[in-house]
């Protein structure tokens, strides 16, 4: 395979000096005198660069970056699927993009209808009763969900007692971080030998001090928790709530749902399951869905429809946790997710799930002779393999892959498998690309150690000294 990423010795923006001629309306300099002297600026410290140089600079930088438009991006639990271009087109319609949040409900009926419809669609997909679109990312969705649980426990007088949140050792790092941020103590339980929740460990950890159990299903090993209804009974039986981390929702959408499994609170990742672009690390969007008994705790406002058919922002929820974001959520991301669901419909969404799971299991088949894939062969959206049996390090294999123009899977996560790679192909990859990926991974395992350590050589830089970056902090040009 021939691949070479564009390579420029691109200077920093501060190292480019050209004549800035960007036109801005002239203003009255005398107004400077009105500003109190102790806070008056002598001039902002910014580089002087011509617009054409700024555009060339960032265009060159973009060519030294990999996106899902360039090929497979199989980061586990990140669900990097193709981002449809129609969504970008709709999001750039000025009636949507040039709207001020305080313009008044009657002037944004189109936007409110879209938000209302997305709330309904997410409710329907998850079998939850009410949804807030306000949280701005998956982690913030978790935080919001935990704040809702907290407020609920407070309302029934149990918050003083229930201070613990139980989390399996295979959970995403955001789960314990969100729980701790909301003031709970985190109790971690080990997974069982089959990679799923250890019911005995759960039973012995759970008590009248437990506020909630947070899990994702399928879990980060790509395994469906078969005993999920039993888990729900154990959790509810002790008076605690069950939280669904929606990062892996792409594995089950349309087939089953958190609501049917017995979950009380769920967050969605619109930038994963609903194909909104991730932008190199955001913006995202992390709506939260809840069962009816928790709906009065949602952040405000939520979008509702009046009897006369008009949509409005309802701030009047009896026990609301308040606000977690300035306005109504990441509207342009919400809009893209609405477009994705509307385009695919019930038929397409379910088929996408099937294709995503089929692709994963095809990769299992292609890789199982060369790598140890623990915990059975039937996976959902992702698989986790270990490179231990090959004697190679997962990190070195990742660098070999990227050198071929193939983005590497997540490495060293989840934490309960050593030297692991977590691979999520998604539904938007052709068989050819799945084969190219599998062949490359197998080929990596057969390289000699010396040559494996030499990668990458075809990218804009070679392997980076991360220890130096942390020890000799340089965070500013």
């Amino acid at each position: 395979m021939t691949y070479h990423q564009a390579t420029y010795d691109e200077p920093l923006l501060s190292e480019i000096h050209s004549d800035n001629r960007y036109k801005v309306p002239d203003a009255d300099e005398n107004l400077m005198a009105l500003i109190p002297e102790e806070i008056r600026s002598a001039g902002a410290k910014l580089p002087e660069i011509a617009e054409y140089d700024v555009v060339r600079h960032f265009t060159r930088l973009s060519q030294m970056n990999y996106g899902v438009d360039l090929g497979i991006y199989p980061l586990g639990s990140c669900t990097m699927k193709f981002n449809p271009k129609f969504a970008d087109r709709i999001a750039s319609m000025e009636e949507f993009s040039e709207t001020h949040p305080l313009i008044g409900d009657q002037n944004i009926q189109g936007s409110l209808k879209i938000m209302y419809d997305l709330q309904r669609y997410l409710s329907e997909l998850s079998d939850m009763d009410a949804v807030s679109l306000q949280p701005l990312a998956g982690a913030q969705g978790e935080y919001t969900g935990i704040l809702i649980i907290r407020k609920y426990l407070e309302s029934i007088g149990e918050l003083e007692k229930r201070k613990e949140i139980i989390i399996p050792d295979s959970a995403h790092g955001t789960n314990p971080a969100s729980a701790a941020m909301a003031g709970f103590d985190v109790v971690e339980i080990p997974s069982s030998s089959d990679g799923t929740v250890d019911l005995e460990a759960l039973k012995s950890a759970i008590s009248d001090r437990t506020a909630a159990f947070m899990i994702t299903n399928p879990n980060t090993l790509g395994l469906f928790e078969k005993r999920i209804t039993e888990i729900a009974e154990i959790v509810h039986g002790s008076g605690a709530l069950l939280y669904y981390d929606g990062a892996n929702f792409n594995a089950i959408m349309g087939i089953t749902s958190p609501g049917l499994m017995g979950f009380d609170v769920v967050h969605f990742n619109l930038h994963k399951t609903f194909a909104t672009p991730h932008g190199g690390g955001g913006p995202g969007s992390g709506p939260v869905g809840v069962k009816k008994f928790l709906s009065e705790f949602l952040p405000v406002p939520v979008v509702e429809k009046a009897d006369d058919g008009r949509y409005f922002l309802n701030y009047d929820l009896r026990n609301t946790i308040g606000k977690v974001a300035p306005y109504y959520g990441a509207f342009s991301t919400i809009l893209r997710a609405w477009a994705y669901i509307t385009y695919h419909g019930y038929d397409g969404l379910t088929e996408n799930t099937v294709r995503a799971v089929l692709n994963t299991n095809y990769l299992v088949k292609r890789l199982q002779n060369d790598f140890k894939i623990p915990f059975g062969t039937l996976k959902k959206h992702e698989l986790v393999l270990t490179t231990e049996n090959t004697g190679k390090r997962a990190l070195d294999m990742a660098k070999f892959l990227i050198d071929l123009g193939i983005h590497a899977p997540t490495v060293y996560f989840p934490l309960n498998v050593h030297e692991d790679m977590m691979i999520e192909p998604t539904e938007t990859v052709s068989r050819r690309d799945l084969d190219v990926f599998a062949d490359a991974l197998i080929s990596a395992s057969k390289q000699d150690d010396e040559s494996l350590k030499s990668h990458p050589v075809n990218l804009s830089v070679g392997r980076i000294d991360e220890v130096k970056a942390a020890r000799q902090l340089k965070l500013h040009w």
């Binding site: 920093l12 902002a44 910014l46 960032f58 930088l61 313009i103 109504y328 342009s332 019930y346 294709r355």
Partner: protein
Amino acid sequence: MEIEDSPLLKEIGFHTTDELFDDIPMKVRKKELRIPRGISEFELIGLSRELASMNRSFRHNFLGNGIYDRIIPSSVDSIIGRSEFLTSYTPYQAEMSQGMLQSLFEFQSIISDLTGMDVTNSSMYDGFTALGEAARMAYRINEGTEILVPETMYRSKFNVLRSYLTGLNVRIETYRISPVDGSIDLDSLSNKLKSTTAAIIAEQPNSLGNIDGNVARISEIKGNALLITYYDPISLGVLKPPGEIGSDINVMEGQQLGLHRNLGGPLLGILSFRNEYARKSPGRIIGESNDTHGKRAFVMTLQTREQHIRRAKAMSNICTNQALFAVAATAYLGIIGPTGLRKVALKTMENSQKLIKSISGSGVLKRELKGLPFSDVLLKYNGAGNLQEKLAEKGIAGGISLDELAHNTYEELKGNVFLSVTEKTGSESIQALAKELEVME
């Protein structure tokens, strides 16, 4: 091709796709999905246009108070529309993602220069949540038990801050903004200050819309408390940076730096701080290093503070942030430059002054508050009925009341309203507003 006929299915030895879901118990299977059937792109665009037309656009805009209609160079949209940026994930494979990493390093640097702060992280969700994180950070640093905030802080900002302090042993206390002078009441602030105060939050311009000279005097009286400043980044075209007036942590909303209003989201949170607080800070940080050949290269660093490593002991749960918009802000500042930013800020002030002058003829609105407004001009409203609704009938957007916006307000300011301007506000809009006010009662 029907999925049941997929050759992949045969390859894995399955006959039907149902077998892929054998591990999902029947009793939790979904029986129906009440979502409309999928449609084509052509139909979807048509439907979207129809819904877009249900939104009303206004000829004259005087809405602001945190979200503004500012000049956006076309190049900014073009740059963040590059699909290599738009469709990339968090740069976990650094060697393959130098473009995004260098851009984010430049964002950190350009913002640190603009604000005079030592370190800036690679972005937060928005200004309000970044303020919440800043307050949590202050608590981690000095374990103080109160956060002092201006009494007239916007209610939504106050409520987000309160959410972010849940579970911590921290109370929010308020200090006064003088309803006459329109600036921070330093006596009130001093009186509220204790040895146990974690931080003082001060806004510039303040929540009454004024450029506030007193923000610069807080560092003299703050004692052990940290000073968290909340700056309008455009105001830095004419104001001294927060780093030069003793700010310990600075927060900004970056929407004005090249982002469309988008009904208020997604936005861009900007968080900067002193060097010594870096290890207590939340969020992604990009550091410079080099590759095996000694070539300059960039990576995510200080990751041991973060959730994927530290888990329950992480500084924050944040992972996805607003990377793409950090690139937009960097491109905006690069294109507009120091002279451009100064002109944008000055033109805004010029338009505020024009607005005050042009409405003074009407009896309906009057500027009573002293002090120098920036974008948001607070005015005494003497008319009957809801001003925002009355103006909307005439195709003018604006007139939000302070009572609606502020966490708390003062008797002297009851019924005051905001009209906001930017460098884009045209004379024709100001004239149209003045004309409507003349005939209004």
